[in-house]
Amino acid sequence: MPDADKHRPADPTEREPEPIEINRQARQRLLAILGSGGVSYCYQCGACVGDCPSARFYPGFNPREIMLTALLGGIDRLIAPDSVIWQCSNCYNCYERCPQDVRPVEVIIALKNLARLESDPPPQVRGVYETILKTGRSAPVIGTLDRKRESLGLPPLSRIDVAEITAILAPDDDEAEEGARKDAGPSAPEESA
């Protein structure tokens, strides 16, 4: 016992801390997602918190705690539909501040990617994603837009070949193989993104 603790009065309300559970398999699910790798280097200094606008305005949001939960493998909680990850503002302050190059914002983006694969992202996120898949643009185009643009002296919007987008966003052959391997049974964890 450290010396300081010897002089500490006994606290009758103090309870034994809950044992910490580590779910390595769940963590591997995150580490298989592009951009998540930095989380392994997080040493919990909290440099990401001080400059985080979401932590400032939304008491439940703390990037250090999100990194810790991810490291311990609490992935299901982090990708649940009501998870705090959706309150990240994507400002990249944590990316600038982190002395370990963890890039917490990128880990959170990877968690969001996992949420689309395994859970249920918020409707506005799905909305933008699906609008881009269907039209190639992030904002809906209304019928009168070209006339409005013409009245301003602007050229019409360029045509988008959505079939090209569909073609390049289809999964790779080896991704399909990976999926089949995972279905067949457990395999060695993938370290590379």
Binding site: L34, Q87, Y92, I109, K112, N113, S138, L154, L157, L169
Partner: protein
């Protein structure tokens, strides 16, 4: 100088008057705008990247490949497009395995990313390639006495190691661009605060936005200057949402930098779309001698 124009989605669709301002001001800085066919959404660095990161990189790689075929460097007019295309350009240049993977996908449509061009936000093009002297020489009506509270937004500057535009903790680029057109740049206390647009909670973005707007209001600037349509939407439409929710009427007029540049080059407030804003820049229009009727 020829430069390929990447228009993105939000400005051409929601704020075409900003596009007008860009298209009318750049030729006076000896920039020849090259329009290309075939660009899609950059795609969106927030919700699209959050949904399919590899797909995000692939679509961005396709846009870069379209630009590479024309040979000129690209300029963007939205911080979101800048973020996606600069980051993707960096990742695809530095990660050979990912580049090969993306190129296998692009091969399906007969395209290839090679990494031969640079992407810059148009303000970086002005500051780093055109230069302040040329900008000053294009001014026919200096915006003397106009005080502009600057809001840089997040994605022009960060991640700084990739964007390489300015120091994200003490940026000067927009200050210099505002000074060059005769106006006075004003620092406000919350100049580094994000607009919160990416947060899905209904109240959180409004709290961030209101905090920024109150900070701008304290400076008694004539307008709030910015370079990103997402910031603009947050601070323009956002003010109406704040007023509806809390009854607080902030009346801080947000403007896009190229509207100010257009005024300084002699364009009328109507030509650069300033008369169509929800929050009218009354003090700004008075100071340049075009009071609101």
């Amino acid at each position: 100088m020829k430069a390929t124009f990447f228009p993105g989605c939000l400005i051409p669709i929601k704020y075409p008057q900003f596009e007008v301002a860009v298209r009318r001001t750049l030729p006076r800085l000896d920039i020849e705008i090259v329009d290309l066919d075939g660009f899609t959404c950059c795609p969106d660095p927030i919700f699209f990247q959050a949904s399919d990161k590899l797909g995000w990189l692939t679509m961005a790689g396709r846009n870069l490949a379209v630009a590479e075929a024309a040979g000129h460097d690209v300029f963007t007019i939205c911080s979101g497009c800048t973020s996606t295309l600069c980051e993707a350009n960096h990742i695809l240049r530095t990660d050979e395995a990912l580049r090969a993977r993306v190129n296998r996908r692009l091969a399906r449509i007969g395209k290839e990313y090679r990494g031969t061009i640079e992407v810059r936000h148009v303000v970086a093009l002005l500051r780093h390639r055109v230069g302040l002297d040329v900008l000053r020489q294009s001014v026919t009506r200096p915006l003397t006495g106009v005080r502009v509270a600057l809001h840089y937004g997040c994605h022009l500057l960060k991640p700084s190691a990739i964007m390489r535009v300015d120091d994200p903790d003490e940026p000067m680029i927009l200050h210099q661009l505002v000074e060059a057109i005769g106006a006075e740049p004003v620092k406000h206390d919350e100049r580094f605060l994000c607009c919160g647009k990416a947060c899905t909670d209904p109240d959180l973005p409004l709290e961030m936005t209101a905090t920024v707007l109150r900070s701008v209001k304290r400076t008694e600037a004539d307008c709030m200057g910015m370079i990103c349509p997402t910031c603009f939407s947050s601070f323009d439409t956002g003010q109406l949402l704040i007023a509806r929710k809390t009854g607080e009427h902030l009346e801080v007029p947000p403007v896009y930098y190229f509207q100010l540049l257009g005024l300084a080059q002699g364009l009328s407030p109507d030509e650069v779309g300033l008369t169509r804003h929800r929050i009218r820049p009354v003090a700004l229009l008075e100071k340049i001698g075009n009071p609101v009727k």
